[in-house]
Point group: C2
Amino acid sequence: MPGTPRARAREQTLGDITSIGRRHLGEVGAAALSLRAVARELGVVSSAVYRYVANRDELLTLLVVDAYTELGDEVDAAVEAAGTAAADRFRALTQAVRAWAVREPSRYALLYGSPVPGYAAPAERTTGEGTRVVTLLALIIDGAWRSGELDDTAEPVAPVLAPDLRAIRDQLSLAVPDRVIAATVQAWSALFGAVSFEVFGQYGPSTFADPAALFDLVVDRIAVQLGLRRLTHPAPAGSRRKDWRTPRTG
Amino acid sequence: MPGTPRARAREQTLGDITSIGRRHLGEVGAAALSLRAVARELGVVSSAVYRYVANRDELLTLLVVDAYTELGDEVDAAVEAAGTAAADRFRALTQAVRAWAVREPSRYALLYGSPVPGYAAPAERTTGEGTRVVTLLALIIDGAWRSGELDDTAEPVAPVLAPDLRAIRDQLSLAVPDRVIAATVQAWSALFGAVSFEVFGQYGPSTFADPAALFDLVVDRIAVQLGLRRLTHPAPAGSRRKDWRTPRTG
DNA sequence: TCGAGGTCAAGAGCACTGCTCTCATCAGTT
DNA sequence: AACTGATGAGAGCAGTGCTCTTGACCTCGA
């Protein structure tokens, strides 16, 4: 479809480089990403890949955007499929983030782990895709607020934070008050913490046989603190959350 | 003091290597840590440092233990200085963790950031120092529970988690029930999330003029959800937390 | 049709890395 | 005072990122 055959070939090669890099990222990590190794696997001499990628950092940027896009797509789809209830949408978002992170730990680390020293993702190429998930979270909470699905239990926040919170509200055209934005920020960071703990295996010496159950519990607590009203109708099929509360034996 | 002058010299050199490595870690990051560079700065040829450190990974291990120890010491001191009230001790712990992390971002990343691919800290050398902070947190909560400073608001947890929670309780000789252990785990992960967000600069596009205020707010919310009863007596001097609630003008 | 301009891969090369090996030296131990 | 083991130096191997030059190819327009 796009223009000249040369341009298409170039696009193809660039895609190959990205996908090889994606696999190498998973195998050796961002810091050990080697353009030479990518070239080897591409069946080409090392200097040739510099025709397509300016340097190692640009390959990283390619992979960052690639990862943000895939994560954003999966979260969007999951939230979409979750229906209209804010609590369902919130849970779908958290589950989708966790599922992707567990499946793609190295790419998750690239996005949300410790920064790669000496490398800063160029804002103009990453902020767009990079803010999709947190924006969606904010919109879900905002929607819950507008539709009355949110209990207003958050406490007032320090005035120093007001300008920053107002900036967020303006940028996303939110209707929620400052304290709810702050609560959303905290929910986001708590979600991030829970996922990182599981993905990075940093629960300390303790291990959990069923990390998903622990994650469920944590997300539950986050939702409660957000003021997201619990659903009264039964959970969707496949989600056996809290089965133990209603044994319904016999 | 310790034995032979040779052993003392060796200890000295090892200390020098550690402290040079600590600085390099802050400058170039864990992945780019170079034994050659350390050797250069030590004024010695590269092969010589291999007399002291088996390989790059062992230098990392040295730095991990070093960082855990310093963090543990600072948190211990802060909690100690905070008195006996569980809420104060909890807050002191969080502030000390944040302060150290903000001051030593690369060392924080080494401990709690994305794992360095291909490197796994040997458990027998790191778990001891590595669990000091989370253990202290558990003991603070346990103490609050025993002394009645903890509101029992946590909800019951899924039975699948019971064995793991029991293991934690047994190992630390806690008195708290499963649901409080689970809440503590979540508090720990939420704290980790908040610190990581700030240290790794991953609040997305939003920036906060006063990250400490945001952190205060988040910790407040974590404390509330833990059920840590608020203190009625005035906050210690220097902590102007929530001043805006009691304007007390004129 | 044919030539010019752009595109691409190859290869050599520089400076760096981790790590191993050998060899000389010098200091602590006996 | 003699010995021996810890130590540092140096060479060397295989790998890395990145640059530069060279030669081949392809595409497009005259």
